[in-house]
Point group: C2
Chain length 799, copies 2
């Protein structure tokens, strides 16, 4: 059963990798103190008495069961914190090697680095824009063929009867596309499922989500999103752009691809988490920018979701990447549409032009907007609650890839059937005039020169449907059509989100909101005095779309800017803000945002902006992990190998201390070294005894660490002979001699602030004589959160 829970998690596939040794979940800091085996041979390793008062009963019993060979299922739920996620190092490891390099570097050198950063950002924007183009063009083409085929088929069979054949054709087409997309995702790269936004949020937050920024993920994501959109699912292609941009950024900035085994030998300086994160922010922003034609919104998205430390230069580079991205998309699409130079396609979705003169709003409409925001908040919370239950269900029962594919195919078939049924039974016929030319007007049972307006909504890519809802003339839909459409699409979208397909939730949310928003508009127009133009259904469709999206994802600032940029009109800035703020406040009362729910269900140790308000009574001493496995400044190779091989602890960072006596007394801190560094040292056999013979060999350089980044080999792959075990390793040059520390009396909020603001991975807790007594890592802080009734503590779990 433990495999099961792994299967549906983002990092799944633990079974295969676990055997290979690489993917073994490595924890940071010391965990499960009561179970850690103590290596005390040679007295060089010591552990300090446990001071933590945290009750770990529950997961310990779970572990004991696991130890007895009967893995108990630990359900994913929001009260658990998974120990399988590693952290990223957003704090530079300022060891001697690093400082020497920095000191050697001239002013011009730094200039060049800065220029390459700009170049890389430009490249990120360019490639992200191109990927958006590819997705857009392929989706348009394929969807065009599909709808054309079905339309002809329907038209053929409308007269002669036998529309069930059309239904089957439609269902089969959807079915096949979705199957391909789903197989790709479920079997090849499960992390490419969904929009990727929660994963990118986690990455920017400092959590290492396995394989999230790999090339393979990108390929699967792009193909997957094309398949699911063409397959007619209630999904959008916008969310995945953010993930795609992030992968592009992570790839380009490293100057190599580990998947393709190609190293261009450039940008080596950027091969560390700190720099990579900055570029990934830029990539995510470029993705948003390409998706919505919203460069400023992209920057804000990156900052709102990711950044902890706002740096002006970084912001500008991100902005630059966003700009290039939307421009590339715009330019290439203008060529593709034989309209070179007409820059009217800034994003994958265009809300179309809102003519401001007849769409101005009045003061008395503001309460209406706020009310719609509240409706959006309630509906959004409902969506999230339903999706939450569904996700729990999926985690429990729909875990095997083949089941996931089957579910996706089922959804595809149901979507087609429902759409068809709705179109079939709808008798909302509208005159077909030249003014608003539908792409695929379906006459069906309507009179000549008319078309079925329900069909327009379903029989289109969702992006086009949104645009129609915003801009079509009043009277294009009758209220019943819209009502039914809202209802079905709401449940379809809710069911679809979380399937093993690459797809986003932005467009379905907008579509649902636009539908009920337009409904509101029609209703308002009907009660308003005749001749008044204020109750334009298109305007209310926009407001509804904003409310629904806000109610589901709960972003405010960035979403406002994204929507305003997508609308191309600042006039609606204030209403959109009000609506989003209301939707957020109302929605938060019931349930969290959709992305946060999914992050919680994955039990990710996600650090929020601040420590819980009521956590001042906790101090570093209470939250830290102890005892800490420390290393000596000059340490025996055998000890290091044993520490690293200890699968029950799997520490990732080790305080380096002065030589201490055998008894388990705390020793003075003199540095911090990471597992990855030790691995590289062992691999290159940097032993004191070999130093003499190494005169001919070159000194270990930063380059060696960078070459191994980010996939450091597992300790099992490094062979250390029995003789070598007796050698010594001098860590002085490689450890970070100035790790950040806090005294043990520091309050949790203070620890949290330091940890979060500087993006730390390990924070050493020391006593008043600078002796190591504990280590605070991400999970120690993420464990405390504010529940409905005050401070709650999550349980740690080895899922």
């Amino acid at each position: 059963m433990s495999n099961i829970t792994k299967k549906v998690s983002w990092s799944s596939r633990g079974d295969e990798l676990g055997a290979a040794g690489e993917g073994t979940p490595l924890l940071n800091g010391s965990e499960q103190p009561r179970h850690s085996r103590q290596f005390s041979e040679g007295g060089s390793l010591f552990q300090i008495g446990r001071l933590s008062t945290v009750d770990l009963e529950e997961e310990i019993s779970a572990e004991e069961e696991a130890a007895r060979g009967q893995p108990r299922e630990i359900p994913h739920n929001e009260k658990l914190l998974s120990l399988k996620y590693e952290s990223l190092d957003y704090d530079n490891i300022e060891n001697q090697l690093f400082l020497e390099e920095e000191r050697r570097m001239s002013f011009t050198g730094f200039r060049c680095l800065e220029i390459s950063r700009w170049l890389i950002c430009g490249l990120i924007g360019l490639l992200t824009g191109l990927i958006a183009c590819v997705i857009d063009i392929v989706v348009e083409k394929l969807a065009g063929y599909k709808y054309e085929a079905i339309k002809q088929n329907i038209e053929r069979f409308t007269e002669v009867g036998g529309l069930s054949i059309s239904l089957i054709l439609w269902a089969v087409l959807n079915f096949s596309f979705v199957m391909v997309g789903s197989i790709l995702v479920a079997f090849f790269e499960p992390v490419a499922a969904g929009s990727g936004i929660p994963q990118i949020k986690c990455y920017l937050n400092g959590v290492k989500v396995p394989r999230v920024v790999r090339l393979k993920t990108l390929v699967v994501k792009v193909c997957g999103v094309i398949c699911s959109v063409v397959g007619g699912l209630a999904v959008g292609k916008e969310g995945p752009m953010i993930h795609s941009g992030a992968v592009v950024a992570a790839g380009v900035s490293q100057g190599r691809s580990t998947t393709l085994k190609k190293d261009l030998m450039i940008f080596e300086y950027f091969r560390r988490d700190t720099e990579k994160r900055d570029f990934v922010s830029a990539g995510a922003a470029a993705g948003v920018s390409a998706a919505f034609g919203a460069p400023v919104g992209g920057v804000l998205f990156s900052l709102e979701e990711g950044a902890s430390f706002w740096n002006q230069m970084l912001t500008w580079r991100i902005f630059f990447a966003s700009m290039i991205s939307t421009f590339t998309l715009n330019f290439v699409l203008s060529i593709y549409h034989n309209n070179t130079g007409d820059l009217s396609n800034p994003g994958l979705i265009n809300f179309g032009r809102f003519e401001s003169e007849n769409l101005n709003y009045n003061l008395y409409e503001i309460p209406l907007f706020i009310a719609m925001g509240a409706i959006g908040g309630v509906l959004g919370a409902l969506f999230n609650v339903l999706n939450y239950w569904l996700t729990i269900f999926r985690i429990r029962y729909v875990h095997r890839p083949c089941l996931q594919v089957m579910e996706a195919m089922l959804v595809a078939a149901v979507t087609a059937t429902v759409s068809f049924t709705m179109i079939y039974f709808s008798n909302d016929c509208q005159p077909l005039d030249s003014e608003h030319a539908e792409e695929y007007p379906l006459q069906l049972f309507c009179a000549d020169g008319e078309y079925n307006s329900m069909a327009t909504t379903f029989f289109n890519t969702p992006e086009r449907s949104v645009r129609s809802l915003f801009h079509n003339q009043p009277g294009t839909w009758n209220p019943l059509t819209l009502g039914l459409f809202t209802l079905t699409y709401f449940f379809l979208a809710c069911w679809t989100y979380g399937l093993a397909v690459s797809a986003g939730v932005f467009i379905p949310s907008l579509l649902i909101g636009a539908a009920w928003g337009r409904l509101c508009g029609i209703w308002l127009a009907s009660i308003a005095s005749a001749g008044s133009i204020w109750a334009d259904p298109g305007k209310y469709a926009l407001i509804g779309a904003a409310a629904q999206l806000g109610g589901i994802v709960r972003m405010t600032l960035s979403l406002t800017v994204i929507l305003v940029e997508a609308t191309g009109n600042v006039t609606y800035g204030l209403p959109i803000m009000l609506v989003l703020l209301t939707a957020k406040i109302v929605g938060d009362y019931f349930q969290e945002g959709l992305y946060d729910i999914h992050i919680k269900l994955q039990s990710v140790p996600f650090l929020h902006w601040e420590a819980p308000a009521t956590s001042h009574w906790l101090t570093a001493r209470e939250v830290m992990s102890s005892p800490v496995t420390c290393l000596n400044r000059i340490e025996k190779v055998g000890t290091i190998v044993d520490v690293l091989s200890n699968t029950s602890t799997n520490h990732n960072g080790f305080p380096v201390v002065m030589q201490v006596s055998d008894n388990d007394e705390p020793a003075k801190l003199c540095g911090l070294i990471l597992r990855s560094q030790l691995i590289v040292l062992l691999k290159h056999k940097v032993f004191v005894e070999l130093a003499g013979s190494r005169l001919s060999r070159r000194k270990l350089q930063l380059k060696d660490f960078r070459d191994a980044y980010p996939r450091f080999p597992p300790i099992q792959s490094i062979h250390v002979s029995q003789d070598e075990r007796e050698c010594l390793m001098d860590l002085t040059e490689f450890m970070n001699p100035t790790p950040y520390t806090v005294p043990q009396e520091t309050s949790l909020p203070r620890v949290f602030k330091l940890f979060r603001a500087l993006g730390l991975r390990h924070l050493v807790v020391v006593d008043d004589a600078n002796r190591v007594i504990g280590l605070v890592t991400r999970k120690d802080l993420a464990r405390y959160h504010l529940g409905k009734y005050g401070l709650e503590e999550l349980h740690l779990a080895q899922t």
Copy 2:
């Protein structure tokens, strides 16, 4: 002469206050180690050997001269760092009192706090919006009367001759208004001069600019800006709104006014620098929002200029304040204009509606935009260089308030004369048609039914002129008129910025840029093929305005959003971004931004985003100040009084250490206490000996510290009797027991990152046994900056 330099500085008036003892510049950390007198009586106070290698020769000789009673002038220039600026404490002082309060507070208590934060932000928005209304309405009214009077006068004298009387009338009117404004600023509140943006930048950065957020400053600012705009100076009323918003925020959030001696006894929790700063950010954003109708731009401005740690909740509150502010302005102005409910006045400046259909841009125009950006960068740099020299000149020679008033009056008269001359000699007559109704069309020597188009540009508030340049029909101005106007206005604006009047530089910059941009447009239209509509002069005016403003102030992201929001049209997003980015890159090549120049000329210890790239070779040991004046955990009152009274050191923060021996050995750190806290303790006579007798008296609470905040009395005002000097004070409860520390080997960038990200004021440098060996304060970090040829070190000066 030393008075002189003080006079023109932001905090001037040091002469009066210095005598009173309050305004005495208090330094943080320990300065001028070679001059610090050592108190070593009782062995309770010790100093640690100086390790700093910084050469302080220059200012030492200056001080020696000063000591000899011959104050040598220390010119303000960018190579100096003033020691007179205090820092703000953006790090919470988590002492026992604070922690007890936090722990006592329930979950509901924190909820209430959060709600009051939102309330305060709403109030800040409301008041800022109302202030903007007042300014707008008063300026419109007064300027209307003025122009009407002059127009009638000119019309009367055009026929009969004797226009010199009109000139005199005009000059005298301008003269009088500017005189009033200038007297207010120069004599009553010099810190209200200029736009206040550099001051707010400094405040948000953590520098305490004296009196910058006081009520008196606000009053002077508002009256001053009305006078200078009505006085016809080349200034805008937008920049000062930012300062006004900040003052409103600082006032409202504290629930009291020290100036009015009124304490509402609410919001006491927010009486500390951390909370106050957050509200000031909101106020600044609300100011931008009201000035430009740009709520998102306001948030970005606050973040770009101020924030170091991006907090989502904070951002939303800031956003809320911005929203309320622009909405209030909009609503009140709609009532004022008898058009209730029509929300078309979101800001003080409206760029008017750009009709997008005929103002779309083409791809081939983008190089043109970039070229204009480059021109803007060059012109902006020229503006800044000229203003830099002018400011140096002013600092040297125009220092007395009366001289400043005279200069302002001179500028007012010259502005009127120049304008008049230009109008007089202009023969650019345009037909007066109903389409673009000028407010004050001046016929002058034109034929009947025509008006003088040069007059339109000058004879208007600058906001209206900008709008005319953007929107008037092609052909409204002939190129010569525009060229002359650009030239004269450029120099007038440059001369005006830095006068002792409250005024902003945004509008003049936009006006200059719009003028030459329109010129470019006209020129392009003349070389373009006839009938092509792309070279619309209005569009190029907008681009020129963006380029010029960007070239002068060098903001990118926030300015893009501000301009896009002010334009009300996202279409120009991309061109504006490109233009601003180009202007910044080109401009930065020559000279810094205008605000940065003024900050540097004030020698403010301003912390930039990152430490200089080439500063890795510096460590905490080299940059720290030492020896440090430390206090014992239980300290003699006499010693404390002596330490605090020592005017030669004026330390603001004192590490508290364990009891040490007489020899000057470093002692173990156990906390940090601030001067302000010690003052309160002394004032309340919290002595160990009195503890018994204090059984009846209440215990010292956080409230006592908050009541004294932010104007703590000087030590001189506290009387301590000879008996009391022998008493002891127990600091344990009041000191911050967990100050952030760094080891002495930490590199400067690492120290900088910690200091900047957490908004620290004092960072204790410890050795490997946690013993205090130095203290890093703001000036120690701000001292290093990247010059043209690598790392430079600023000299510290007592100006």
